[in-house]
Structure formats: structure tokens, C-alpha cells
């Protein structure tokens, strides 16, 4: 969502009203609230609330709209904000220049802390310097592991994509895979490329790359099918996002291939697929944890002067593997959309 004025997040009554009206128009009936009530009940089950003075934290990410991954990051941040008596201002834009403007916007609002993703560190450098001049602590999350210290960030919460890729490759070695195809759903995305490179580094078999159009599922499905038919020695399909893993399972069926599917990232439907064995394993960088820790880290710094990771080392949230051995434990949390 392209929210150019994050301050409106709280007083977004007109927006909510319009959205609600649209929701009602779409649902045609008010009883849709049943589902939402249950959802809220599940979310409100979190711990008690801090009695520290209210502070404002801006979370500025490079999320593209409507991606399940970022939704989980935001849920983590919201949970921490609720617990810490923090007012969370969320905004995002996949365009690096626009994201920098959103950070500037947060500085103008004189927030008490900024959590930011560094998908394109160079573009963010200037504005992060301004935040520091203004005395606003900045923490990094998700992407920018190799740059957060250079930019003078307080702390960093995320997964080293290369390390995750390497761990993934090692895990593949234990499954007896010989030839894999690494499916990239967004051409030119640095983090996704690092994952595939990491896999290639440790995986002892052959790795090929395939680009698909991530916003068009039928196209994703047929492109993976085509690849499996073109090269029937491929025994494992590696996807970099949960929805693509589920689609890859269908492609394997379409192609009449025996390939297995393994993936980065997790969502609620994926859990079922791991349980029934159609997906071998998923590497989980725990996006909920990234959002949660970033907000909580800023709160700790303000109220107790703490540095997570000692201010020199990143706090790694992944790679955690989810496979048949531990999927049942994860399932109950995934059902709430928090894993």
C-alpha cells in the first residue's frame, strides 16, 4: 500500500469506512464480521502491556502490496507495539527512492524510533544519516545484513540470505538431490539472487535458475512445468516464496515429473503441504520475529539503553527449517498467520 502519509494510520477513519463499505458491498452481508472477530480474538491473546510512556515507532519496508510474507512481519511489529505501548506507523514502497521519502516523512513527524529494511542500501544512506542527525535511533530488519553497520544503524534483525541459501544447499545434500532448479519470482531482486547463489555454493549437485512472473500464477505454473519437461533430470524444485512452492507442486504434477519441492519462507497453507509430504521442507526466516524484535529493540533502547546483538553483530532470525519432524508444532501458530 502506498501510504504517503503514515501519520494518517491512526486517524484513518474515513479510509476504514470506505474499505468497510467496500467490504460489505463485496460480501453483500454483514456477517463477514464473524471471521474477523475470531481473528481478533486470536490476536488479542498476547501478553500484558508495558506501562512505559507512549512512544512512536515508524516501520518502513520495501514491501510490494499484497505479499503474505510482509503481512507476517507487520503482524509481529504490531504485536510488539501493542505490548510495549508503542504507536506503530507502518509504511512501505518497493521503489527505493519512495522508501527513502517515507523515512524522511517519519523524521519530519519526529518519531521516537525508525525500523527500516535496506533492500537498496545506497538509496537509503542519505536519509538514514538525517535520522541520526535528528537523534532518532534507527534499526534495520530483513534485508541489509552486509550494510547496516556501515550506515550506522543501532542493531539489525534478519536472516543472512547467503547463509540461509548455504544451509538450504546443505539440507538438500542430505535428501539425495542431484539436479535442482531455483525459481526466482522477481527478476533483479538482490536478496532472492543471494539465496539461489547460496544454495549453489553448498549444494553438491547441479543448480539451474528459472525466472517466473510472480504476479501471474497460471504463468508461474506453466513456466515451471515447461522447465521440468525441458530437463527431466531435475529432481528438486526450489522456490523462494511459499505461494510459489504450492504452485510448483501443481507444475510437478502437470509435467508428470517425480521432482520434489522445497522452499524458502512459510505460510499457513504451506504447513498443510509439509504435513502431507507434497513439500519436503521450508526454510523459515521468521518474519514475525523480525517485525517484533525491531520494534521491541527500539523500545528496549529507549527505556533501558539496551543494544540487541551488542550493537556489532546482527540478530539472526533464520534459517530455521520446518519439515515433517517439527511441522505440527508450527502449524498451530501458522493457523493464526503469525508463522
Amino acid at each position: 500500500m502506498d501510504r504517503s502519509s503514515p501519520s494518517r494510520f491512526r486517524r484513518s477513519a474515513p479510509f476504514v469506512a470506505v474499505a468497510a463499505a467496500a467490504a460489505l458491498a463485496l460480501a453483500g452481508c454483514a456477517s463477514a464480521h464473524g471471521g474477523k472477530k475470531a481473528e481478533e480474538a486470536a490476536q488479542n491473546a498476547s501478553a500484558g502491556k508495558a506501562n512505559t510512556p507512549r512512544m512512536t515507532v515508524a516501520l518502513v519496508t520495501h514491501q510490494a502490496p499484497g505479499d503474505t510474507f510482509w503481512d507476517t512481519v507487520r503482524k509481529g511489529a504490531e504485536a510488539a507495539a501493542a505490548k510495549d505501548n508503542v504507536k506503530l506507523v507502518y509504511s512501505s514502497d518497493p521503489n527505493a527512492g519512495n522508501q527513502a521519502n517515507l523515512v524522511q516523512n517519519a523524521i519530519d513527524q519526529k518519531v521516537d524510533g525508525i525500523a527500516v529494511t535496506l533492500a537498496k542500501p545506497d538509496a537509503m544512506k542519505g536519509v538514514i544519516g538525517k535520522a541520526e542527525q535528528a537523534g532518532i535511533p534507527v534499526v534495520g530488519l530483513n534485508s541489509g545484513l552486509s550494510d547496516w553497520r556501515k550506515l550506522g544503524l543501532l542493531e539489525f534483525f534478519g536472516q543472512d540470505e547467503s547463509v540461509a541459501g548455504e544451509a538450504f544447499g546443505n539440507k538438500l545434500n542430505t535428501t539425495g538431490a542431484k539436479k535442482i532448479v531455483c525459481v526466482i519470482q522477481e527478476q533483479g531482486n538482490v536478496g532472492l539472487t543471494q539465496r539461489c547463489d547460496g544454495v549453489q555454493k553448498t549444494f553438491r549437485g547441479t543448480t539451474e535458475t528459472l525466472y517466473v512472473n510472480g504476479t501471474d500464477m497460471p504463468s508461474v505454473r506453466s513456466t515451471i512445468t515447461a522447465k521440468l519437461k525441458q530437463d527431466n533430470s531435475i529432481d528438486t524444485v526450489v522456490t523462494l516464496g511459499a505461494p510459489f512452492a504450492l504452485t510448483a507442486v501443481q507444475s510437478v504434477g502437470d509435467a508428470g515429473s517425480k521432482a520434489k519441492v522445497a522452499t524458502f519462507d512459510l505460510n499457513k497453507d504451506m504447513v498443510k503441504a509439509v504435513q502431507n509430504g507434497s513439500i519436503e521442507f521450508a526454510v523459515d526466516q521468521q518474519p514475525y520475529l523480525q517485525g517484533y524484535l525491531a520494534v521491541d529493540g527500539l523500545w528496549l533502547y529507549k527505556n533501558n539503553g539496551n543494544y540487541s546483538g551488542g550493537g556489532v553483530e546482527p540478530v539472526l532470525t533464520g534459517p530455521a527449517f520446518v519439515d515433517r519432524s517439527n511441522v505440527d508444532k508450527v502449524a498451530e501458530f501458522a493457523a493464526k498467520g503469525t508463522r
Binding site: A27, K36, P65, G66, D71, Q187, T215, A226, K229, D231
Partner: protein, 359 residues
């Protein structure tokens, strides 16, 4: 019969055959082959055939029947939308909201069925109404304001993009819908929208059948019905069309609603094929639909085009898209290959028409 004749000059961009020949220059004098070549769909047919032959040569795995089924599947999901988009373009208008409208429809059906625990057919029907309403809104705004449809549908595009996300989040608490595959009616709906059937050992997706059926229907409507004439007339010159009694408002609004119908159909395919829908999908596809229509010989300015042309346009896009993968080329160049192949195919298309219409 007069209907078909009136449609004729608009269908083929058959030139007035400036004839320094002995005859009075009527097209009937020109050789049949050239007259055929002058039709826009023949050019794109040859372009598509060239792409097909090219990949049959360079990519051995394309030669399997099952590979062709995959290519046709990809083409069909583009092609089903490219058809109404092409009709709309012949009628002189654009729809930039068609890509996200597909996802709006799928989200509506999915969330309505899940949240109220209804038979999924209820969701499917409500989604159809919503899609038609979106089309009606686009058409009505265009006709009432007289603004370019580019602007109106750009607005709708942004609105739908935001609503898709916000409403999904509001209702499900997530940005993707819940899995509806275990609900009543899902199996039936999947049979209609997302099943496949066996042809000589090859699994063919049902969307391919729908695509070709819709194309046949659209061709008949365009060439053999009064409504088809109205489409050409409003796209050619709205004011003179109105002057001769063509219901311009009705025609334009109904064309936008037809795009809504297509969006609904493809949206249902997405839903019943993948069980859940991510609210951020669909962006960018509108340009692919328009590209398929333009490659298929529909003029960007309206008033000319066919329904069969976009079928080949969509096929060409699907063939190039999958062919590159079948050929096993370096994937870093994927988009560049795609662009070069499409441009090449369009140039063949253009060259064929120029050659055919020169004399």
C-alpha cells in the same frame, strides 16, 4: 448481408487498392493470396507460426504433445482476457484495470464463500456480478464524462489494487485468502473452470477449450451480428455512429462489462486452480492482454481488428514465454529474449501486411 459488408472495411485494413491497373481497382481483382495476407489475423498467424517453427527446431522438448498443452494453457489464460480486451479496443476504448480486476473477482468469490461458509457457487455468482459492476462503472464513467478511458481505467486500476489489499486484510486478517478447496461446490466449479482432460495421453487444460469457444463466439458476434457492427462503428467514429442510430452508450458500456466477464472467468480459473489468492497479484497483466490484442491486429486507435487475431497474439506470447524455457537459454536474458521475439514476430506481421497491400 448489408451488415457483413459494412463490417468488411473495418475488419481487414484492406486499402482502397489504388489501382493503376486495367480494372477500376476493386479488391476482387487482386489475387486471393494477397487478399488473404492483407487481413490482420493472417499476418499474426504467420508470425505465430514462425515462432512455433523456430522453437520446434531449437527446443526439442517443444515437440512433445504435453509441451504444446503447457504452451496452450499459458496462452489460454492470456487469450481469454485478450478477447474482450480486443473487442473493447475495436470499440475505441482501453481497460488498464483488467489485470487486477481478475484478482478482484477471485478474491470476492473466495472470501464470500469462506467467511460466510456458503456453497462456493454463491461466491462465484456474486463475483460475476461484482466483475460486471466494475465493467459497468468503467464504461459508464467513460461515456458520461467523455474522459479518455486510459484515465478512467487507470483510476479503477489503482482503486482495485488498493481495495483488493485492504478488503482482503480487513476480512481475512491476512493478505491472501483462505483455502476453500474443501468446501461444497468446489469440485464442480473446478471441473468447469480449472480441470483438464485427456487427448491421446496428453493432459489438456479446459481453459484452452473455453478460450477457443469464446474466440469462435466473438468472431461470430463481430462479423455476423448487428452488435458486431456497432462495435466497429463506435470505434471508428463515435459521432457518426450515433448519427446513424448506433446506441453508442450501450455498446461502450457493454464492452467494458464484457471485459468484466472475462476477468471473472480468468479469476475463477485462478481461484479453482490454486485454491487461494494473494491480493497483490495481477498487476502488469493488463499490458500483456493489450499487447496480445495489438499483436493480433487491433488498432490502438480503435475501429479495426478481429477476434481471431488476438487468439494468435496470445498464442505467440505463450509460445515465446515457454519456448525460451524449453530451449534452456540463459534465464538472465529471459525478458530480453521475450522482447526481441515479440518484436520480431510483430515485424513479420507488419511486413506481411505491407507486402500484401502494396499493389
Amino acid at each position: 448481408m448489408s451488415m457483413a459488408q459494412r463490417a468488411e472495411p473495418a475488419v481487414g485494413t484492406t486499402p482502397p487498392a489504388s489501382g493503376p491497373k486495367d480494372s477500376d481497382g476493386r479488391t476482387a481483382r487482386r489475387p486471393l493470396a494477397l487478399r488473404l495476407l492483407a487481413r490482420p489475423e493472417v499476418g499474426v498467424f504467420l508470425g505465430a507460426a514462425a515462432v512455433l517453427v523456430f522453437f520446434l527446431i531449437v527446443a526439442p522438448s517443444v515437440r512433445q504433445g504435453s509441451s504444446m498443452a503447457t504452451v496452450l494453457y499459458q496462452s489460454s489464460t492470456i487469450g481469454i482476457m485478450a478477447l474482450p480486451v480486443a473487442l473493447l479496443m475495436i470499440g475505441g476504448e482501453f481497460d488498464l484495470s483488467s489485470g487486477v480486476a481478475v484478482i478482484s473477482s477471485a478474491l470476492t468469490a473466495s472470501m464470500l464463500s469462506y467467511q460466510l461458509t456458503l456453497n462456493v457457487w454463491t461466491g462465484v455468482i456474486v463475483a460475476l456480478l461484482v466483475s460486471l459492476a466494475i465493467g459497468f462503472f468503467n464504461g459508464w464513467m467513460v461515456v458520461k464524462t467523455g474522459l479518455p478511458s486510459f484515465l478512467i481505467t487507470l483510476g479503477t486500476f489503482l482503486i482495485l489494487q488498493g481495495v483488493n489489499l485492504a478488503v482482503t486484510k480487513l476480512i481475512t486478517g491476512n493478505v491472501a485468502t483462505d483455502d476453500i478447496s474443501d468446501m461444497d461446490g468446489f469440485g464442480q466449479a473446478r471441473k468447469i473452470f480449472a480441470s483438464s482432460f485427456d487427448v491421446g495421453g496428453v493432459q489438456v487444460k479446459i481453459t484452452v477449450v473455453w478460450w477457443l469457444a469464446f474466440a469462435a463466439l466473438a468472431t461470430w458476434v463481430l462479423l455476423r451480428t448487428k452488435y458486431g457492427n456497432w462495435i466497429f462503428a463506435v470505434g471508428g467514429n463515435k459521432d457518426s455512429a450515433r448519427a446513424v442510430g448506433v446506441p453508442v452508450t450501450f455498446t461502450k458500456i457493454s464492452l467494458f462489462m464484457l471485459v468484466g466477464f472475462g476477468a471473472w472467468f480468468v479469476g475463477m480459473h485462478n481461484l479453482f486452480s490454486f485454491n487461494t489468492v494473494q491480493s497483490g497479484e495481477g498487476i502488469g497483466n493488463e499490458l500483456i492482454y493489450i499487447a496480445a490484442a495489438v499483436i493480433g491486429g487491433c488498432l490502438l486507435t480503435g475501429g479495426a481488428g478481429s477476434a481471431i487475431g488476438p487468439v494468435f497474439g496470445a498464442f505467440m506470447f505463450g509460445m515465446v514465454n515457454q519456448g525460451i524455457v524449453y530451449a534452456g537459454w540463459n534465464p538472465d536474458w529471459f525478458k530480453a529474449f521475450l522482447g526481441v521475439m515479440l518484436l520480431g514476430a510483430v515485424l513479420i506481421n507488419l511486413w506481411v501486411q505491407r507486402t500484401a497491400t502494396r499493389r
